[in-house]
Symmetry: C2
Subunit: 355 residues, 2 copies
Amino acid sequence: MTHNFGAGPCILPQEVFKQASQAVLEFNGTGLSILEISHRTPEFEAVVDETVRLVKELLNVPEGYSVVLLQGGASLQFAMVPMNLLAEGETAAYLNTGVWATKALKEAKIFGNVNVVASSKDDNFTFIPKDFEIPSDSAYFHYTSNNTIYGTELMTVPETSVPVVCDMSSDIFSRVIDVSQFSLIYAGAQKNMGPAGLTLAIVKDEILGKIDRKIPSMLDYKVQIDGGSMYNTPPVFAIYVSMLNLRWLKSKGGVAEIEKENISKSEALYKEIDRNPLFKGTCSIEDRSRMNVCFVMENPELEKPFLKFAEDRDIIGIKGHRSVGGFRASMYNALPITSVHTLIDAMQEFAEKHR
Amino acid sequence: MTHNFGAGPCILPQEVFKQASQAVLEFNGTGLSILEISHRTPEFEAVVDETVRLVKELLNVPEGYSVVLLQGGASLQFAMVPMNLLAEGETAAYLNTGVWATKALKEAKIFGNVNVVASSKDDNFTFIPKDFEIPSDSAYFHYTSNNTIYGTELMTVPETSVPVVCDMSSDIFSRVIDVSQFSLIYAGAQKNMGPAGLTLAIVKDEILGKIDRKIPSMLDYKVQIDGGSMYNTPPVFAIYVSMLNLRWLKSKGGVAEIEKENISKSEALYKEIDRNPLFKGTCSIEDRSRMNVCFVMENPELEKPFLKFAEDRDIIGIKGHRSVGGFRASMYNALPITSVHTLIDAMQEFAEKHR
């Protein structure tokens, strides 16, 4: 068994792979592959409907919000958000907690003014800034809830009277959230929702249609919502696999149950990092991410040997991002706790050998 | 065996389904599903490289052009083209041959002026306009080479001195083209290239970087090309299946060979439509598409019974688009000629019964 700690695209449940593999041969008794069916068939419309319904159910999305399935990843949302919500001359507030937040605010500058309310850039994003002011005349406040590269996560929504926009690409569906605290949530699917090639947006309907700019149809949330996520041909297979994965999550007891597992998994690994004299965490303890656990070795010369030691135990995907170095163990919903224990065991065995 | 005449997403080769199904379980000896591998692994980078190489080889793409894999379908290209190529105040020439061309020119109006050089709208797009002038000061000339809804196809590139941009979504890889006649070709993958969720663009490098507009990174051809189709997480599975499908096309002898088959298939069906007293074609004979064959019945009351008659023979996807009515038999590369003969047989049997 391979222990896939990759940062994304990432592990999904084995039963989802099995069902998806079967649907590529034959989908739902149609005699056709899921790859050759029309998106306008009742069979596929049912897939879109169920996917949207599962998102609403699992995240307890209140009335007044639309769930829409898009393409282009979070990177396209970096532009779509200001294109739809930031008029020329207006200012949006951005919290800078890493590479993705930096990219998001750079795109926003094309459409209006950006006020970076706080940044941990000077400390290589090792913490989440806490004391900052969000001016009440901001068009919106944007932040990234989980920073995959640095292993930090913001679990509480900063208090503000302005609309909150959040990039939840790497922690959506991993913990209970209160959607009513947000005006717009977006996420690339390829962590806890499904495979690469799909993007989720949850939009408070009342924030749309307030600016004058002419928006290309494909980039207009309103057009996409009115089109029922099928303004044009959607990424059929990515939606289908996401539906299977959300069904799996529901069968596991939903987000509250998976959150408990995610807490157990991350606590176990952080405990080992803090206990084991060979390893140390890279970011401030109170901001540690449950999804991406970043750590280095006290003696950097042991990092390569440990990587090899882990690989020999079928532990893959733990090499840290180049801007942090060391290791990053990504532990998304589908990663079994046995994989975490395998990694912890490897750290302990390695420490025995090198004490 | 199901005979899938669907307009798209459409039939792909059975061996592609088998290989894709297997890769969802395990990809290329990695011990991982294609759905859980990182796009930054050497194994997947090889997939992107081979896909791009196959596009270049199969279409004989000359030096000076970049092949790039994107998301969002042709509908997003409708906006990306003018965003990248049409400065404010400039005028682009558009040929209006149907719904997709109409949508393309509507998006262009957001960015500059549009000159509709000819349109067959008043005749419900039953023909391709022939005599039109493309002003030499146009920023570019845009047309749709194949019109899926109306069953018309433009096989020759209109003569002009301005850069030619072509939406080839529904006939790319179906016939030999001379890429050097174009400055930009784009296509949603979901006909002859692969599954839904991927978009292909072939861009003449020299046309880029000529306008001042600030372009969001994801919508900037230059950024996407420089990022090697991986500026952000690409649609991994859709690229993989496209690679398999292009491999299949190469193994069949390439585009020139498949074009012969496409000629045989379409000639056989048009011949039956013209011969059979119950049926008639809907568009002008010289503009008939090889990909989408549109026809109606002399007696419209027989259309429902014939649809049922065909379905009983496992012929599916032939219901015409609501704006034309009747029938549309889409015959993409992967549709076997035996399926075409099955349809022709059904038409003949039905005519016997109803003569």
